[in-house]
């Protein structure tokens, strides 16, 4: 049934239909609507056989999730921004212990200055935490990705973040078609934990490992990540077969003419300008590039759905021989460049692609279609620098007179 729902509601209802045994969260904008909805469903019984635990901090939210997952329950939590950073120690720990917790990250900037609006610097700061990171383009995909995330996480014994742009998606109402409880029951295997605290078969989880075994455990974790690429692809194919919708593929290709998602779209050609992006900005790019495409400009669009594992092969396949690659990046490695750009660069190392990084939409700055179109035009003229900040108000914000900082634009 197609209905108009707020993104947070779509996610909460889908999570409930995945039948978690424990939901534990601490509120933070813009994640709040998701956990509010789940707490109501837990009280009304719509979310049955589920414990909803209110905690005193995000650090405890992830810690409760660790205990609950280790004791054999499908476990869900959600957070954003400072909350994600506050739980960081436990986030790494959950991954090291191989606990398949699923967490929504309603992407938001990190302070200071404090800012509640959207960019992706929170989840990207935790790129090495050992969690899978799947990014939603729109609310339909945000909902669907949660079903895939539980399946993938539990098959791999590895936790998964579903990242959706805060406010832009979480608080936006859109037409969505939610998977029903029956459909999810048929699609998602029952949770069979790979390790569990069981009084009949006692185990010790979370021991100390010395130098003689630590590297090996990390190596095994790394190998598991390499497996994850195939597992995600396999579940996203199964999802497409079962629901007729695209979600959770590693890299999304877009039809060169319609700019609609099309997994069979040909790779970008040498003379194309390819834009690579992650999250809701992909939708903005669809709208911005359509008129240019109509004018005959050869522009291509490639979306990253899986940031961890980073799909290097799939990205190389999608970009083909493309010479001009522009990454629209919503997170900044200070003093270096875009976080996504760095990963794209590594994936394309050794190819003939020239990679440009455009930092856009930090802290909720609107990403304007006209600005994106300007980037493409300037790229065609060879005028885009290695690193740019979209719509930077040069001189518009007073800078303290320290050093001789020149901002590249």
């Amino acid at each position: 049934m197609r209905e108009v729902l707020e993104g947070s509601q779509a996610v909460a209802r889908t999570v409930a239909r995945c039948r978690p045994g424990v939901v534990c969260a601490y509120p933070i904008s813009p994640q709040t609507h998701i956990v509010e909805a789940l707490s109501v469903m837990a009280r009304t019984g719509e979310l049955s056989d589920c414990e909803y635990v209110n905690v005193e901090s995000e650090f405890s939210a992830m810690s409760v999730s660790i205990g609950s997952s280790a004791a054999g329950s499908r476990t869900y939590t959600a957070t954003a921004s400072q909350g994600l950073l506050y739980m960081t120690e436990a986030v790494f720990n959950a991954a090291g212990m191989g606990l398949p917790i699923v967490m929504t990250v309603a992407n938001r900037a990190i302070g200071a200055p404090i800012n509640i609006w959207n960019d992706q610097s929170d989840a990207l700061a935790l790129r090495d935490s050992g969690w899978l990171q799947l990014y939603a383009t729109d609310n339909q995909e945000a909902a669907d990705l949660h079903v895939i995330a539980f399946a993938v996480a539990e098959e791999l014994g590895m936790p998964a973040m579903v990242c959706m742009d805060g406010f832009v998606l979480t608080h936006a109402s859109d037409v969505v078609e939610l998977a029903s409880a029956e459909e999810i029951d048929a699609f998602l295997p029952a949770f069979r934990p790979q390790q569990v605290l069981d009084v009949d078969h006692p185990t010790t989880i979370g021991t100390m490992a010395g130098p003689e075994s630590f590297t090996e455990t990390k190596y095994l974790q790394h190998l598991r990540f390499l497996d994850a690429t195939e597992v995600i692809e396999s579940w996203s194919h199964r999802f497409r077969d079962a629901f007729g919708r695209e979600a959770g593929c590693l890299v999304s290709r877009y039809d060169p003419d319609t700019l609609e998602r099309d997994h069979a779209a040909p790779p970008a050609a040498a003379e194309d300008i390819a834009l690579v992006a992650m999250g809701s900005v992909v939708g903005t790019l669809q709208a911005a590039l359509a008129p240019m495409r109509a004018e005959g400009e050869r522009v291509r669009l490639v979306g990253i759905q899986s940031f961890r594992p980073f799909p290097e092969q799939a990205l190389r396949a999608a970009l083909g021989e493309c010479r001009d690659v522009i990454v629209i990046d919503r997170a900044l490695e200070l003093g270096a460049g875009g976080v996504l750009t760095g990963n794209v660069g590594r994936a394309l190392a050794g190819t003939r692609s020239r990679i440009r990084s455009v930092i856009a939409g930090l802290g909720g700055r609107p990403i304007l279609e006209a600005s994106l179109q300007d980037v493409v035009r300037r790229a065609r003229a060879g005028e885009v620098g290695r690193l740019e900040f979209l719509d930077l108000k040069e001189g518009g914000v007073p800078l303290p007179p320290v050093g001789a900082t020149e901002v590249a634009r």
């Binding site: 045994g21 810690s63 329950s73 010790t204 100390m208």
Partner: protein, 331 residues
Amino acid sequence: MTTVHIPFLQTGTLAVGGRLLGEDDRSLQSQADRPSSLTKGHRACQGCAEALAARWVMDTAVEAADEKLIVANATGCLEVFSTLYPESAWKPPWIHSLFANAAAVATGIAASLHSQGRDDVRVLAQGGDGGTVDIGLAAVSGMFERNDDVLYVCYDNQGYMNTGVQRSSATPASARTATTPAVGRQPGAPVGQGKSMPKIAMAHEIPYVATATVADLRDLETKVRTAMSIHGARYLHVLVPCPLGWGSSSSESINLSRAAVQSGIFPVLEARAGEITDVQRIRQRMDVEAYLRPQARFAHLFKPGGEDALERWRALADANIRRYDLMGERS
């Protein structure tokens, strides 16, 4: 869970009890088929009171739970000396996550069990004073406030012993640690208000709070048994002398625990719903010197200039005796 038959080590009535008692009154530890939840062969220091306390706590809890007990452990000595991969000294299902989150992990285990309908399985969390009184306090308080069905046990050795004897907020005033050296105008840990975790626990009005020491293991056993007979959040604070951190002889751990109680420094009590229901009376009052002098961390108190600090210790003992009626004067 299988029990391992261990050699019967009769160490006298004071430590083990049982020899002069009837079958029903004997300590669990005097039984050849005690659960041995924390097995021998771990790497604790000689004379470690935490290892001794943990063995008694665990065995009693495991038996009280009919062997259906899951344990969450904070980072600290207890975790490090018992689980160096690939070995483990724990027989019950056991998890260690982080330093600050044992209480929250235990909450998660309890929530998971409840959602699975496994109300027969009990949950125990444990940590040292660092993981409980300092870095883990928020999680412990949250667990108390929600009244989660967890028994939390704090093994208080009054410092960060796992990292090389630094000060925690459970370190007593004037004690020498690596971060509060016995030099300068005010040697040792600064004198302040201190942080009493049993009082903090009582302020949450949880069903059961108790303190105990390894000087009276039967009392410890009884308190664990009592705690396990109750559902909801329960807190047990056990004083565990640390030969390394306290600078005491390995053979002195029990004597020091006894001196802490009998001098009035460490009140042994029980409380329900925030009200004290029982205190262990001092049978033969000892001077605080009996507690302080065998510990190198207090050596500077017995040099010229240490008189003021010694007086403060005496005043603390007097205050405790008054506040908790430890000599039974009011009865």
